[in-house]
Symmetry: C2
Subunit: 234 residues, 2 copies
DNA sequence: CGCGAACTTGACGATTTTCAAAGCGAGTGG
DNA sequence: CCACTCGCTTTGAAAATCGTCAAGTTCGCG
């Protein structure tokens, strides 16, 4: 009867956006650090095809916070973002997005049930992630936060290799990771060094991580189960 | 053509939920500290009529975080909440909610455009609040966070009195406020004492606040403009 | 090979948490 | 009506965590 109900709420991986939605927009190739405009009154919508995006907030000149992270299959709706100064949507890796306008999206959603349900699904994937991110930043220690992010990345953009090991790209720079986790870049670096020394993590080329024992890594954050449910590649 | 586009994204106050939506659910009176079930697989939806609700997360037994706050006109959709243990929806004041089931909601949304648009509006009010909350917790100092919350409450549930003063209920206990702001209850108490001593705040009966000079209070947080836009009673 | 950006590391300092104890308020039973 | 208890709040001193500043190192790239 209702498509949405068939998809368990723990479904983390995106179902493909309807073709009608993609056809309504234009394809944009992203380069790392490229900024994507949000439109004057929040009129743009982006659908991520490939790569990762960050939403940056600058409450004050000296403070930067990454308040959202978007993966392939996610939708960035400017209308759902707060109207604050210093809000930027930034590509953190090469990739590809489709851009369309909010009014166009709503017109489509009004007539096309598939679009409507895909949008609803996208939201059901993204909103819980924000809440968990908030709980992470708000109630976990520095190390637990870092591990939570590593786990998220390992599950999202990584592959299982062998014997419970996992290799993954780290699309964010240390600074970006720090700003995402509300840590100082220096502090983050120290924590990652400690993780390396304790043997649960190794880093190659600054952009690639490897967890020889992924289970052991997961045990370092109390939110492991929740993160696994939200980001598991099924 | 599209209702949504007529409502600026800064519109903070709820338009009334469609009658068709309310008729589909049952009315529940809340008492303070009452817990509202979210259903086994996230099947419940609550629409707040009166009072305020908190969404509590317990990542670990010792750590508590209020990750969402709901005011009249807001919708709590269990499907949009993360499936983590220790997630509780709790009334913080007396009030009234309407409960219905997710499938019922989706069925209504599929056939009734007014329901659809109201839901979308509700989301456009609530999602930005979470992002700002995240930026608040993540990048502001203790005092700035407290002021941000006081400002939010003063605008949401308070009244202007005279000469730029503002009186407001504080529906959260100190502990709840602290858990919302990721502060220790002791630290919060200290900060509020400092605010009182500096004259920008006074408190009566533990549940009611008064800002003799609301402008002066606002100047203490860098997110004042953003908060004002999101919570202003227009 | 050398430059610049990103990252790492150390020492110090500030804010916040922790732990403990005391004060206040509301509700209860005598 | 009062004394009592329980929970919430407030405050102080010590400890831990995290941030700041500065210097050094690694890495990618021309």
């Amino acid at each position: 009867m209702n498509m949405l109900c068939d998809i368990p709420k723990s479904a983390s991986q995106a179902s493909a956006p309807p073709a009608s939605l993609l056809k309504a927009g234009i394809v944009i190739a992203m380069r790392p650090r490229q900024r994507l405009g949000l439109g004057r009154d929040g009129e743009h919508v982006y659908i991520v095809r490939e790569g990762t995006l960050m939403l940056e907030a600058l409450p004050q000149p000296s403070a930067r916070q990454i308040i959202d992270l978007y993966y392939p299959g996610d939708a960035v709706r400017a209308q759902l973002l707060p109207s604050m100064s210093g809000l930027n949507l930034i590509a953190s890796t090469p990739g590809e997005v489709v851009r369309l306008s909010e009014p166009r999206l709503y017109a489509l959603a009004d007539t096309d049930a598939a679009v409507r349900h895909w949008l609803d699904d996208a939201l059901a994937r993204q909103y819980p992630r924000r809440l968990v991110h908030l709980a992470t930043v708000g109630s976990l220690s520095g190390e637990e936060r870092v591990v939570s992010l590593l786990m998220e990345l390992a599950l999202r953009v990584g592959e299982a290799t062998q014997n419970g090991a996992r290799a993954f790209d780290m699309p964010l720079s240390r600074t970006d990771m720090a700003d995402y986790l509300s840590l100082n870049a220096d502090t983050l670096s120290r924590i990652m060094s400690r993780l390396r020394q304790s043997g649960v993590l190794s880093v190659a080329n600054r952009g690639r991580g490897y967890a020889p024992n992924f289970e052991a890594l997961c045990r370092l954050t109390p939110l492991a189960d929740t993160i696994a449910r939200m980001h598991a590649t099924q």
